[in-house]
């Protein structure tokens, strides 16, 4: 069902946790749907210095969260905004068809966190 890489990321996810005074936080999904993803960003000079996540969801949700955080760490905001769920999935070596929607969550969580960061910037 899952590729070895998905299982590796599921078993040893990178960047799990929270960032206390995060510059941007994004939460997507809902417990009713069985998946929630929360993404924390630490941003300095337009660069994503640190990223952490928490996920309530299936193996694919955990693996895509983890992969997505790795893919944006150290990138500029503009670069991070270009990351799509397709890119995350292909980095993981593919996902079963019925699990593609879980990967959309990772993309949405990143965008939500960046949006939160931007709106905080504007308010400052």
């Amino acid at each position: 069902m899952y590729t070895d890489k998905v299982m590796e990321y599921f078993q040893n996810p990178k960047n799990v946790g929270e960032i206390k005074a995060a510059d941007g936080v994004g939460e997507v999904g809902s417990p009713a749907c069985g998946d929630i993803m929360r993404m924390y960003l630490e941003i300095e000079d337009n660069i994503i210095k640190d990223v952490k996540f928490k996920t309530f969801g299936c193996g694919a949700a955990v693996a895509t969260s983890s992969m997505a955080t790795e893919m944006i760490k150290g990138k500029t905001i503009e670069e991070a905004e270009k990351i799509t769920n397709k890119m995350v999935v292909s980095e993981l070596g593919g996902l079963p068809q019925e699990k593609i929607h879980c990967s959309v969550l990772a993309e949405q969580a990143i965008r939500a966190a960046i949006k939160d960061y931007k709106s905080k910037q504007e308010n400052n």
């Binding site: 299982m7 078993q11 799990v16 069985g34 929630i36 996920t55 969801g57 299936c58 019925e98």
Partner: protein, 389 residues
């Protein structure tokens, strides 16, 4: 890695003894039982013997047993067969919201074909309300189909009382006993059941074979048309080795049943008690006592079932869940929702089902592995706040 199997409600390994009885009928004694030469007659004879064993296991007559391709086909046949054969009497069917999909989706099909189906609710333990059932019966009610025991939460319904009501009202009563056979004593006469579905692979018999008990005199249309097999009620070349295996499995399933159950219940209760007392924020689903001996269904707050199953699999443990994510569908188990669980709790459910060879070491291994996995997943969960909600 040693593997520990805790999904006996999904399917069971074929008993070695049963396989041994089947082997001769694959390649040596393979004759078509509809043939009159000696190979055929021999096949006919062993099929009749097996039919008798299946009948004995539920106290039916052999001529009331019809072999099918599995439990699903038996359920389909019972519902469609009774509905279409008796539509001159009425078009109303009563079932429950917690039936297996083999019944529920068949009911949906019947709704599209002019039948009216009422779905009985269940209480927090998964039990139907007998009084409510009585009030739902109408003049047009031709069939009540209520499962004997639930496959997810293990709740066992008051079958005898339902049978009594159906009989008084002159309504046919079908029960899906796929999960009950071999776990609960079944006596179709005493229970006043008119039709009953069973499946071999749940009782250490072969896959691809089941049976429908049809009480003598019950009017039921055919589902599968063709040759004259099964006394013209179910067409298709008889699967002699599977029939032989099913007969043997039925025989073994009811032998020493109560003694086996006692051991299984002890282990199951030990498992449930241990989890409830060592892991916080958990709850048992289903009825505390009116449940299948080998069924434990527990919800772990803040975590999701598929992640739990995958983590258990990585340490060699096989179990099941009512999470939607495991099935790739959107909604979690209809059974868990029906007993009132909210979506996120239903998602975090774990079904552990014990088999006849499950031992304490296996339970202890699960008890050792489970808590740290739950903790790790909770630490990852955005819903979890240390120390509870």
């Amino acid at each position: 890695m040693k593997r520990v199997y805790f999904d006996y409600a999904a399917t069971t390994p074929l008993d070695k003894e049963v396989l041994e009885k089947m082997i001769p009928y694959f390649s040596e004694k393979f004759g078509n039982p509809s043939s009159i030469y000696s190979e055929g007659r021999e096949a006919r004879k062993v099929i009749d013997e097996a039919r008798q064993k299946v009948a004995n296991s539920i106290n039916a007559n052999a001529n009331e047993i019809f072999f099918t391709g599995g439990g699903t086909e038996a359920d389909n046949w019972a519902l469609k067969g009774v509905a279409f054969a008796n539509k001159n009497k009425g078009n109303h069917i009563i079932t429950t919201v917690i039936e297996h999909h083999a019944v529920l989706h068949t009911c949906e099909y019947l709704e599209k074909h002019g039948f009216e189906v009422t779905y009985l609710k269940v209480d927090e333990y998964g039990l139907i309300d007998i009084e409510e059932l009585k009030t739902l019966i109408k003049d047009t009610t031709i069939l009540i189909s209520i499962m004997f025991a639930n496959n997810e939460i293990g709740t066992v319904q008051p079958i005898k009382e339902i049978g009594q009501i159906a009989k008084e009202k002159n309504i046919y009563f079908h029960t899906d006993a796929v999960q009950a056979l071999g776990n609960v004593p079944i006596d179709v006469r005493d229970l006043k059941v008119d039709l009953l579905s069973i499946s071999a692979h749940k009782i250490y018999g072969p896959k691809g074979i089941g049976a429908l008990y049809v009480r003598k005199g019950v009017k039921v249309d055919n589902l599968v048309h063709g040759g004259a097999q099964e006394r013209k009620k179910r067409a298709g070349t008889e699967n002699t080795p599977a029939v032989v295996g099913f007969g043997e499995a039925c025989y073994l399933a009811v032998t020493d049943l109560l003694k086996r159950n006692q051991k299984t219940e002890e282990l199951r209760d030990y498992l449930i008690k241990s989890i409830l007392s060592t892991v916080p924020n958990v709850q048992l689903n289903g009825h505390p006592t009116k449940r299948l001996p080998g069924n434990a269904n527990i919800s772990f707050e803040f975590i999701e079932g598929e992640s739990l199953l995958l983590s258990l699999d990585l340490v060699g443990i096989s179990a099941s869940s009512g999470s939607a994510c495991t099935s790739g569908s959107l909604d979690p188990s209809h059974v868990l929702l029906a007993i009132g669980l909210i979506h996120e709790i239903a998602h975090g459910s774990l079904r552990v089902t014990l088999g006849k060879n499950t031992n304490k070491e296996e339970i202890d291994y699960l008890l050792e592995q489970l808590p740290p996995i739950v903790q790790r997943l909770r630490d990852m969960s955005p819903l979890y706040i240390q120390g509870g909600k």
